[in-house]
Symmetry: C2
Subunit: 481 residues, 2 copies
């Protein structure tokens, strides 16, 4: 099934437009694509006419061209008629917004079977029903929520596939925006009667050039499709990340009435995914952290040169002892380890500092530079640690409170990282007035996080990805590396 027309349509048509209700889903989709997106959009209305200057056509067969995609925002029985019309007219793809299918059971389930028969027999790429559909900037956006009510994420490397439209728009769009994580295409799959996670994994892995990270928020696999998903994931050149909602009994009950899926035995799924090199965050926050660090690194291939994190050996540099304690606390949990410095290294580090700070700083790992730190101290320490081969990654907890730290510190650190290529992951508090520091690091493709936990998680995610990449390579080219 060809999904390119679904995600990169040249033209779309919308059915289910209300002339009276300016907030009807069909009307919102018509207007937002007309005024906000690049795709050519046609509206269908039985008696024709126009809305806000957009001409409406009486029927699909009266359109001046066959659209690539039909967005259907009508009741479930009429929906089936429109899918039949897609088949009759040769419209290759459709997004079905409305519900009334498998998720309500009984006759809804029967309707969904009819829908599947028409779609599969006629090779129509149907997304939904019961979904928000596609957000593929700058081309098309079928999300029926008014743009001004929601928050759109920046453009980037992550294809984001969610079984829940609400979670997609709220949990992901809002937090992607906060964290500056970029999306290539976002997909709400709803009941996934036709297009499901397997087809999407294949499309984003093999066809879509903008995507290098494919992230799934699922409540369970589509029935009978887990094996295909795993096989595709195992050979995907993109990084595949799966996060499951609905893990507990309570969650499962909620899931069933939500998108008519079975959460399945989570432990079995977890092990299988791991064996097929899929990255699985343990929490939503960890998912966001993975995507952030992978997206930043995708912006410039190999910003850290060929340096990868294989063993998780880190050095922690902080200007606050308490932050150093918190970060050290978390290392083991995330499979990381603080390297031990030799006496000579500690002496070297001390000699690099200004005399006031040198006296009170602590040069164990974590290194606590104290509030008497200068910009040049941080530069010198990062430069020195970058040359210590057994350190695979530096965690820099950069709090701009010490009075002598300048607003150039981000740029200064970025320059050293750029010259050394040692992986460095930073924590800078998320406060508007530090934007200059945060931006100067992010512009240099150095990942910045706004909590200590996320900073540590990010290093762990990089270690996990190195492992998965190595296993994929071994799998592709035989057991010998």
């Amino acid at each position: 099934m060809d999904l390119e027309k679904l995600f990169r349509p040249k033209s779309i048509a919308v059915v289910g437009i209300s002339k009276k209700n300016s907030l009807s889903p069909g009307r919102i989709v018509l207007l937002k694509n007309e005024f906000e997106m690049q795709v050519k959009v046609y509206g269908i209305y039985p008696s024709g006419g126009e809305i806000e200057g957009i001409q409406l056509y009486e029927r699909l067969d009266k359109l001046p061209e066959i659209p690539d995609l039909l967005v259907i925002a009508v009741g479930p029985d009429d929906t089936l008629d429109y899918i039949q019309e897609c088949s009759d007219l040769g419209i290759p793809s459709s997004v079905i917004i409305g519900g009334g299918f498998a998720e309500i059971g009984g006759k809804g389930r029967k309707r969904q079977e009819q829908l599947q028969k028409i779609a599969f027999d006629n090779d129509i790429a149907v997304l939904g029903p019961n979904c928000l559909g596609v957000y593929a900037p700058p081309i098309v956006d079928t999300i029926f929520l008014p743009t001004e009510r929601i928050t759109k994420p920046p453009k980037g490397s992550v294809a984001l596939i969610s079984q829940s439209g609400g979670v997609l728009v709220d949990q992901f769009f809002v937090k992607f925006n906060e964290r500056n994580i970029g999306v290539s295409t976002a997909v709400s799959i709803g009941n996934r009667a036709v297009v499901d996670e397997v087809m999407l994994l294949e499309y984003f892995s093999r066809v879509d050039p903008e995507t290098s990270n494919i992230a799934f928020y699922l409540e369970g696999f589509n029935e009978g499709r887990a094996r295909d998903f795993l096989e595709l994931a195992k050979v995907s050149e993109d990084t595949v990340i799966v996060y499951f909602g609905g893990k507990t009994r309570e969650g499962k009950i909620a899931t069933q009435s939500h998108t008519a899926s079975l959460a399945g035995n989570y432990k079995i799924i977890y092990d299988a995914l791991r064996q097929h090199y899929v990255i699985q965050p343990h929490s939503e926050r960890e998912l966001l952290t993975c995507l952030k660090v992978f997206d930043v690194l995708a912006k410039k291939r190999n910003p850290f040169g060929d340096n990868v994190i294989t063993y998780g050996e880190v050095a922690i540099v902080s200007v606050s002892g308490g932050h150093a304690v918190l970060a050290s606390d978390m290392l083991k949990k995330y499979g990381l380890n603080a390297v031990r410095f030799s006496h000579q290294e500690k002496r070297d580090l001390k000699d690099l500092m200004n005399p006031v700070a040198a006296e009170i700083a602590s040069f164990n790992n974590p290194i606590d530079l104290t509030g008497s730190v200068l910009d040049t101290d941080i530069e010198n320490i990062i430069r020195y640690l970058s040359d210590v081969e057994r350190i695979e990654c530096i965690i820099l907890l950069l709090l701009p409170y010490p009075p002598n730290i300048s607003f150039q510190i981000g740029r200064r650190v970025a320059n050293i990282i750029g010259s050394k290529n040692k992986p460095v992951v930073c924590f800078v508090p998320y406060v508007a007035k530090y934007s200059m520091i945060i931006e100067s690091l992010e512009l240099a493709n150095i990942p910045v996080f706004h909590s200590i936990k996320e900073t540590v998680q990010a290093v762990s995610a990089l270690k996990q990805r190195t492992r998965m990449d190595n296993l994929k390579l071994q799998n592709l080219f035989g057991k010998e590396k």
Copy 2:
């Protein structure tokens, strides 16, 4: 030892002011108290003169009055001389900013013993050394970081005591601000050579009228002081919350060089605290969630009437199925339970909805109202659930994306909650454009969280507090309730 002069001084003096370096700690403290706080502040400088219009005095004994508090920002040996002078002149309290005491071992440890002897023999309330000191708005602020670099929290009910100054200013101040958690007094205790967590617990519990929640960020108890802390906590009328950094081996190593404390055996401490009715969050985020919900509820005593959460029986109301799944997932982990609705209740709930949404909404618990929801539906559902006695708390996941939800929804929900007094905890995405909704709820003292997890944690915290309050009462008035 009387701490009132430390936290509510009428006048302070500062030693360790540099005329050359405008960023020296002493000078920053002098200027910020002169220009930003209410306290009368005197600067000490050997040759007198002035800085930015503030007259400097040559010696402490030349001041026109004996100050309540001396802020010392000089090297460790001079510090001891100044503490002796406090004794000679009758200055009752002091904040020692600088280090060079127990945290560096050897001669530093000896210095700290000398300091302790002078202070205890002469009843001087010394905070530190090696600390940021006191932030007691609007009176005094000894934090030597420039105000414009840091973020100050709003005024509120939480006394916040931190063993790490960096964690206090960054982790807590920034996040208190983001979450609108109010502070009565914040204290950085550093090496706690004299004033320690026990004295502070006593002061905030028994003396300070502005505090009703006392939160500690500790890396371990002061040696030999755990028992006293526990006994005080057990009878405190305020809610006592303790969170430990430095729990792992790596964390402990970091801790030792940080504030010369021993993290101790965490498991033993944990059990002892629990037996003395201390609330112990499991993560920093959970700590913030506790404080947020306790602070909101402190703003108006009993905003939920006499309703308390004893068993953790909740109803979840969402406009997004995916969010409902995520919230349901978390209930068990946090000791909560979704009540089951009878067939009649489900029918009643359905009848309360607009006909379009009624058809597609789901009335299990969680209740998914769907994107077709209207303001009136939410009002009706909350009103109905408030009258179901076995529901102890409603978790409302309020996503303002559905096109028909108005910006009045916060006020409308707040009015119903106000009339019913059923505990309701809300999730509203943290997006600037929803401020009107968030504010209208918070102005009515309804706690609003910006993640599903925190929302669930908050209900759990309320349940935990009910339990601790009941145990305290039983303990005070005998086993019979």
